[in-house]
Amino acid sequence: MNATAASAGPTRTAQPRVGLFVTCLVDIIRPSIGFAAVKLLEDAGCKVIVPNQTCCGQPAYNSGDRAAAKALARQAIEAFEDCDYVVAPSGSCGGMLIKHYPDLFAGEPDLAERAERFAEKSHELVSFLVDVLGVQKVAARFDGTVAYHDSCAGLRELGIKAQPRRLLSGVEGLTLVELEEAETCCGFGGLFATKYGELSNAIVSRKAEDIRAASADTVLAGDLGCLLNMAGKLSREGSAVKARHVAEILAGMAEGPAIGESEKEAAR
Amino acid sequence: MNAREAIFASIRRSLAVSGEEAPRRFEVETRLKQAPPGVVPKRGQGDLRARLATFKAEAERAQASLAEVGTWADAPAEIARFLRENNCPATLRMGADPRLATMPWSETALELLRGASDGRDVSAVSAAFAGIAETGTLALASGADNPTTLNFLSDNHIVVLPREAILADYESVFAKLRDAYGKGGAPRTLNFITGPSRSADIEQKLLVGAHGPRRLHIIIVGED
């Protein structure tokens, strides 16, 4: 049974309405992460709703297309209007919603306020569970050794470091080892990975080396972008190390294929 | 418009000011006059005993060597010992600092050379303006008393530091500086020296004895 503290959130409702900001990568490539997030939130006592949604606008924002970023941001703010919280299984998208939406509309009277309020109610998934809902332990079980990669945006924009480790340490059967360079960028950087492929490869090669040296059988992170990058490199190098989103482990939904793994490989 | 005028005009244009604004002028004048200290680390603070201990620990961390003697009169013997132990010639360059000049050199067999360094000195001795406990740093002021070239051209630089001159931090040295040179004044050169010369430019390997002295020996003078 999960030990959940009653939320001391702003609305003081017994069952907070949490809008799941699923993120385009999860939506399109690995929906199982979305379902793991739903399970974690529901187990912690939330009512999860999934408004019609698209993209947080970060690719446009980081490419310098402020106008497109603003249009998508406005859309997102409207879509999640009547949720108590907005929760995303991603430090990168989370950072966009929380840190950059207010920047986008700074100085625009009405929108700046709406963006601030939106940012205040937005959270990354694991930090939401631990810091807002007070979850101290999850009921999952996972037999294996894992290493956790600190995705840059989650770490540096949102201060996510202790929370995933906290919950992982309570997972039955799981051994957590630390990467020598857990806080070093994996080289994804969104469009950077394709625009500067060779450079991105150099960076992820070092990350892959670090992961292999840690003798973990699975690498975890809170961001699918990083995970796709690391998983893709590890498998290209013929490594047996698997990659999963931390939500999959915490929700006890880590039986299916790991990222980039086929059904056949998973069954072995 | 000459270069100076053009640059000031450009700065003022960018800042959207004329330069005449009274509030700005007042702010600048005030800051220059009051020179407020910022964040001063606790590390160097404390009474003389505490400062002495901190100074010694920090100076050694920076690879200076240290000795303590009771009075100025004991210094020449310590210097002679230092030179002997390091197989240095018994020759020593120094400036006109009266505190050094009046030490009992005849008790040693050291040959003394006076004035600025000619670039061939193996060893030189200076008297410090102050010491900084916070970082184990010596403050040395230029002039005939302690020529600056002695700090850099000798292989072995020996510095005599009166115990009471070990101050807590840079801010305290600045206060002493203002007493000596007036507000807004400074010697032509003020050297803050922390350990012997070093370089890590070759494969990031830390090596002592780059262009400045290979050894820095600090003799702290004073009794309990």
Binding site: R156, F192 | F8, A186, R188, I202, L207
Partner: protein
Amino acid sequence: MSEVATSAHFKENAHAALTDARLQGALGFSRNFVGRRAAAVERLPEFEALRDSARAIKDHTLAHLDLYLEAYESKVRASGGEVHYAQDGEEAREIIIDLCKSMGAKSVTKGKSMIAEEIGLNHALEAAGIEPVETDLGEYIIQLRGEAPSHIIAPAIHLTAKDVEREFRKAHHDLPPDRSLTEPEQLLSEARQVLRAKFLAADVGITGANFLIAETGTSIIVTNEGNGDLTQILPEAHIVIASIEKVVPTLEDAAQLMRVLARSATGQDASVYTTLSTGPRRPGDPDGPRAYHVVILDNGRSAMLGGEFEDMLRCIRCGACMNHCPVYQAVGGHAYGWVYPGPMGAVLTPSLIGVAEGGQLPNASTFCGRCEQVCPVRIPLPNMMRHWREREFERRLSPAPLRYGLGFWAFFASRPTLYRLATDLAARAMGVASRGKGRFSWLPFAGGWTRYRDLAAPEGATFQSQWRARSGAVR
């Protein structure tokens, strides 16, 4: 040396760097800085507060830069020094060469100065028949190789000891050829010997300045070797070249900045030599320069004030950002193609040489944010790189495929229903196309990815379509 920028060819430069095995080996050395800085920061509980203080001092000074420059200038003159102003590199070179010629200078020693690199001073001196001798060991080594520095405080960090030995044997041909130079200590000893003669023979010494203090008319240099000091006290004249934003108000303000500088740069609590110089020698001084000149350079900085990139003028040239940057660690400094590498170079270069020439640099970043995290004066480097990307986008300087790709994405993303349908279709199709392998080893339009990595295939239907199917009602 550094006038011709190759920053526009960053990708090609990076490729050359990534395939240079010798360089890749040497780049490992720069990673030491990370641990050293961390250790120094841990030792000083006041470090974070000092960063805030340093930032505030810089902001205050920049907001009053005209007045502090005036105050500084009058103090320099009062102490017997001379102040010259240069709007750009050409004016600065002219001033310095005229000064040298007026003194009949044949050889000039130089302390390390990034500004001097920026204006290509060495080439100009050589062209005027004056021999410049770099005295910082790293700068000396790269001068022998005819190279530019690859790091702002460790210029030869891209070289191995063997590289240095090779250069010394070539250049110091008067010394016995059978001498041993395998140990770094021996290389250092030889450099000391060779450069000592140059120090003593120089007619003029040129240094940069880490800070200029308005209160006293003082220039500060910070070194570990003592080369800057020998450069400035031995010759007849000392010329300081510094850019306008080097001014700080008071001695106390300088101390705040000094405390974060060494720790951020090399992890030392204090550099070995921090030297405050004020004017030429005083009556009765037995040594020191007889003439003291300060050349104050603008070269694009005044235009940065009051604008989007003003924060960049807080930079105190510590090098922490590049030490912690995954991109710099992968390719080293030369790939950036001009004087300033790493994150600070990515922000500053387009300001100084234009977006057309320097615009690649702010694009070559993952925005990991480590640079901002370690910057002693808290410059929001990723934000400013993003500003450059915005400028490029506005001026349509970004590559066409990227603009079309983003436009395509934005079209769908701003139409939620269309988006849901299209992504679901694409996800299912790609799921099928992967033929049960779970991943792609190649994908059209994604060559930059799949050349080096596999790409996980979509699971099948999208999350939103599955959610609709499960719960029936979607708002």
